[in-house]
Symmetry: C2
Subunit: 423 residues, 2 copies
């Protein structure tokens, strides 16, 4: 499978971090195996556009093999990573054992329901392509069902959509849902009374977008409330949800059939099987060199790693993963040359934060620069287009956004999971 003389580096996860590590390793005299449970890389920051019918699957999913078309020392292995035999340097997957000389854990994160089983059972996560498609199908189906429902209370439950979590995902999802509903659905469901529809955003803190300066937090809440008709509820938490009624800590109850949970993530759970130190969110604690504590041949980067800087773990965002990928590859290079080499220490350079609220409105904070409104929105689009994998996807998305901007269309409204009876 691999040349025995060359070190074999196994990368688990083809997200932003994993792909970057493999791409940079491809230029070195090493053999690389990149493992993912899917055959595609997902541009996670735009998942919410898939769940709100703006983009389609293959505009945010990119075939992993297409990244490595011309780099024959990188092999893709589609599998679920499940366990470790660290002593023998073997990764255990559902497709068999994969031996390694060095291992890079870039396995990412999944939705964290903080142990609330009822909520987990009845809510939608939005960390995977499949989850985003499930949300799209469900939201569209709620509208179809509402047109046939004679009971007003039940109809209102179908037409109430709750996003939990005031981070970028929750904010963007609430804004995009509101646009979909009042900008598109309202023109096409002639029988529905759109005063019965409602989009709610629930956030535990007293503000949304915690990483943003106060002024932009206020702007975000203002746009959501005044322009996008979103019922923004801060300083309250979800207590329980049975699929029909969402109970909040402040005593209020929201009748709804749709709860989208964007209130927290945890590392994918297989990483804990390594037996290394993990934090409360299941993330593996790493050294300054990005090596897992006690496992010098194993690195962890991105959402599944806990890297402490300025006394706090870094946030689970793409720029952390891609910056860590650089240091990780540099350290692998040094280790391969000399196992006793002094390794580089990672420092995250803050690139700022941005979130889009709806068409024409975004907030951007970079160092001392603060932007809001239309130009922030354009900046958001440019940055996301630049980051999108591959020129092709890039141009398709640009084209679709342009079209959406002009006409407010959402033609991705396909309920794809209808069971096909023989009719």
């Amino acid at each position: 499978m691999t040349d025995n003389k060359r070190p074999h580096i196994v990368v688990v996860g083809a997200g932003f971090g994993g792909v970057k590590v493999a791409q940079k390793l491809a230029k070195l005299p090493v053999d690389v195996t990149i493992i993912d449970r899917n055959n595609f890389h997902v541009f996670q920051p735009l998942l919410y556009q898939l769940s709100t019918s703006e983009l389609d699957e293959n505009e945010i999913a990119y075939p992993i093999r297409a990244f490595f078309r011309n780099t024959k020392n990188v092999r893709f292995f589609m599998a679920h990573a499940e366990d470790f035999d660290a002593e023998n340097r073997v990764l255990i997957t559902d497709q068999g054992e994969v031996p390694y000389d060095y291992l890079v854990l870039a396995a990412g994160a999944m939705t964290n329901f903080f142990g609330m089983e009822n909520v987990a059972k009845h809510s939608f996560g939005m960390k995977t392509l499949q989850e985003a498609v499930a949300i799209r199908n469900h939201v569209l189906r709620m509208f179809e069902r509402a047109t046939k429902c004679e009971d007003e209370a039940e109809r209102r439950r179908m037409l109430t959509f709750v996003c939990v979590g005031g981070g970028p995902t929750g904010v963007e999802c609430a804004g995009a849902l509101s646009e979909l509903i009042y900008g598109v659905m309202a023109h096409e469901y002639h029988d529905l009374d759109f005063s019965e529809t409602k989009v709610v955003l629930v956030e535990a803190m007293d503000h949304v977008l915690a990483m943003m300066p106060d002024e932009l937090q206020q702007e975000t809440m203002r746009v959501l409330r005044d322009i996008r008709k979103v019922d923004v509820r801060v300083s309250t938490q979800v207590m329980d949800y049975d699929g029909e009624e969402l109970k909040l800590k402040d005593g209020s109850v929201i009748p709804t059939k749709t709860v989208i949970w964007a209130a927290g993530v945890k590392a994918v759970s297989f990483v804990k099987n390594l037996g290394a130190e993990t934090d409360r969110a299941g993330r593996v604690v790493v050294e300054k060199t990005l090596q897992v504590k006690g496992f010098p041949e194993i690195f962890a980067i991105g959402d599944c790693a806990n890297f402490v800087q300025d006394g706090r773990p870094l946030a689970t965002v793409a720029p952390v993963a891609t910056q860590q990928a650089e240091t990780c590859v540099e350290n692998l290079k040094r280790l391969i040359k000399d196992p006793a080499a002094k390794l580089a220490e990672f420092t995250y350079k803050d690139v700022g934060a941005m979130a889009t609220i709806c068409r024409g409105h975004a907030v951007v904070a970079m160092g001392s620069t603060k932007m809001k409104g239309f130009f922030a929105w354009v900046a958001w689009m440019v940055v996301h287009l630049m980051r999108l994998a591959g020129t092709y996807t890039n141009m398709t998305v640009a084209y679709k956004w342009f079209w959406n901007f002009l006409f407010g269309l959402r033609l991705g409204r396909v309920i794809s999971d209808t069971e096909m009876k023989d009719i």
Copy 2:
């Protein structure tokens, strides 16, 4: 729901025929309900491009409600039509009863396995969006599995893809699969030996594309065989298939895990519940006026109708459905004015036939005009783009085709049905 004074016309099926009927009826003083089991119209002639990763779902699926955004007398009702209470003029669906004054059956066709249960169980049909996606996921998964398979015979079975039926669907599918495999996969599966891959086309007659002149049939077989490396087997039939070995009537056996069945269609089976006369393919026999024999208030058009012209039933192709839609609406108009009115008789005007074989190669026969090669291919693209629903979809597809033509990319390679374990 509907104004009692205005006639209520129910259209079953939102394919080419049903949508056209509803669009034309929308301009009249009538109430229309269009029923479909999906919330989208599908551009069936391009399903094969979805199953071969060239286009994505929302490029060939168009939200039905988007057609009727500005026509408030057309209501969409998402349901499975199941039965008839013709005496009381009621259509029975899984979502309840729908009364009608006039009924238009435009319910379409499904795959016909001609009673071969084993074949039906193990083969893929390609008449619905869901079926096309299932083919895409399966084909891509076969390649991923083949890279992990040590057994040569098993690997060859995974890498052999059989299309059954030499009509346009079978020809186009075989050509597109070959392009996908040798033009894309061969560059990205560095571990596979592509001499182990095989695309086979099986046809019962001694020629493909029965509706084409002999010269173009020969050209099609030549391009498939010489340029696209397709193993074209004519004059033989499928006898049995167990998911591992495809048995043909000539005694040969093809070890394969993939059989795509494009060898026949039958009307969707609920139409037989009407109790009207049907043909062997389950199609309702209609009068020259497109009324179902014995049911003057019920019309049938498109793939679910048997209309005899020149002694033979018309083919199940889109132009028949759209031309019949015109006559159907004209007759409804006359009937509504005067139940005793003389109705128009339908005559199909042949618009010719065309099929694409692969990038740069197509065959076109229109009256005495015969075209092949590059210009036929361009003609095929222009005609299909013009027929695609909606300007938007139109331009996206044009853009993707242009890109595919230049670079031979296939970025729709997403295996979307991977089960998400907690890893």
